[in-house]
């Protein structure tokens, strides 16, 4: 006795598909919390709003590992972290992230000159790491050049490599690659755009001379 055709039957079975549970956000939040408590989150991240758009702020257990400017595609940034560190990535809080967010806010408000954060340097190594270390030493409100940074990093001839290390800086703002200019004093390129670079430098100079 056939009362329903297969098509109608399939339609009935498919009904309700694609729906999201009413309290999905709470369920999801509970999951993230439990995962964090069990120590299953290798990389935690949050999206942090700034005057220059939303930043991805990511940390491992060892410390802040990645800051991505809004021009970088969020999905690609996270996939990159999955590939290079671990797929166990969740959008969740972590003390290092909270700290970084507070300090970033203070920096953009002109109220912080130095970041004091635990950094996980695992996304960079060798000469690149040296370049970032040299860059971190450039004081607030001052600038350096690619050539000088290359010298500081121990390879005076590796100016181009220094430039590429800065272009792929995993921690922009925190490691102030915006303070490195071309040798002729021109502002040079910046992942967040030259105008962002110029504005950050103007803000810093204004604070220093104030």
């Amino acid at each position: 006795m056939s009362k329903n055709g297969t098509k109608e039957l399939e339609a009935e079975l498919k009904a309700g598909g694609g729906t999201v549970p009413d309290d999905w956000n709470r369920i999801r939040g509970d999951f993230t919390e439990r995962a964090a408590k069990k120590g299953l989150v290798d990389v935690a991240y949050e999206i942090h709003e700034t005057p220059y758009g939303p930043l991805v702020v990511a940390a491992t257990r060892a410390g802040l590992v990645r800051v991505a400017l809004s021009v970088e595609n969020e999905d690609l940034v996270l996939e990159g972290l999955a590939q290079r560190i671990s797929g166990r990535i969740l959008k969740s809080d972590r003390p290092q992230i909270t700290k970084a967010r507070t300090q970033l806010d203070q920096y953009f408000d002109g109220k912080r000159k130095k970041f004091r954060l635990k950094i996980d340097w695992q996304l960079t190594n060798g000469f690149r790491r040296e370049v970032l270390a040299a860059t971190s030493a450039i004081p607030y409100g001052e600038t350096s050049s690619y050539t000088e940074v290359a010298v500081e990093a121990g390879s005076p001839k590796a100016v181009r490599a220094a430039g590429s290390a800065l272009a792929t800086n995993p921690l922009p703002i925190v490691v102030p690659c915006h303070r490195v200019l071309k040798s002729d004093g021109q502002v040079g390129s910046y992942l967040g755009g030259s105008s962002m670079k110029r504005e950050l430098l103007e803000m810093e100079r204004a604070r220093v001379s104030a």
Binding site: M1, S2, K3, N4, G5, T6, L9, E10, E12, L13, K14, G16, G17, G18, T19, V20, P21, W24, I27, R28, D30, F31, R34, A35, K38, L40, V41, V43, D75, L78, E79, L81, A82, Q83, S86, G87, R88, I89, L90, K91
Partner: protein, 156 residues
């Protein structure tokens, strides 16, 4: 490999719906949390991004069976044709919809139909979860549909 956050976002709701059918609304949430925690724990061992979904539903299926084991009920061994609601599945008295009839199908057919329509898996993925071939999965779905269509149970 996608970040796990993406897995939760994209597959989480379907896992939740599937488990609600498997263990009932009261136990669905705990079972969901256990499933996702186990998945997160083992996530870095998944090598084939395309197999993530069937892998996830394999864990969910196992966890749903655990729920019944813990409750002191043995799931019906594979392949037996036994009409019982004391097993993970859709039999929920008073449901009144087609899913309560699905729960009365032989277990393999019921599971295949749940995986196909509630979890929205492909036949290939249904086979992967059930550890049977794609064509065997197709057959189980087909046989289940046939029984439903021919009026297994009393729904009209």
């Amino acid at each position: 490999m996608k970040p796990f956050e993406y897995i939760v976002e994209v597959h989480g709701p379907a896992v939740f719906r599937y488990l609600t059918g498997r263990v009932g609304p009261d136990r669905a949430e705990d079972c969901f949390q256990e499933t996702m925690l186990a998945a997160l724990k083992g996530y870095d061992e998944v090598r084939e991004p395309k197999a993530v979904r069937s892998w996830l539903f394999t864990i969910a299926t196992r966890k749903s069976i655990d729920v019944y084991r813990r409750a002191g009920r043995q799931p019906v061994p594979d392949g037996t044709i036994e009409e019982t609601s004391d097993r993970p599945g859709s039999a929920r008295p008073g449901d009144g919809d087609i899913w309560s009839v699905v729960g009365q199908l032989p277990e393999k057919q019921a599971l295949a139909i749940e995986l196909r329509y509630r979890a929205e898996l492909s036949h290939r993925e249904v086979g992967q979860v059930m550890e049977i071939s794609e064509s065997a999965a197709r057959r189980n779905v087909f046989e289940g549909l046939k029984r439903l269509r021919d009026g297994a149970g009393s729904w009209t």
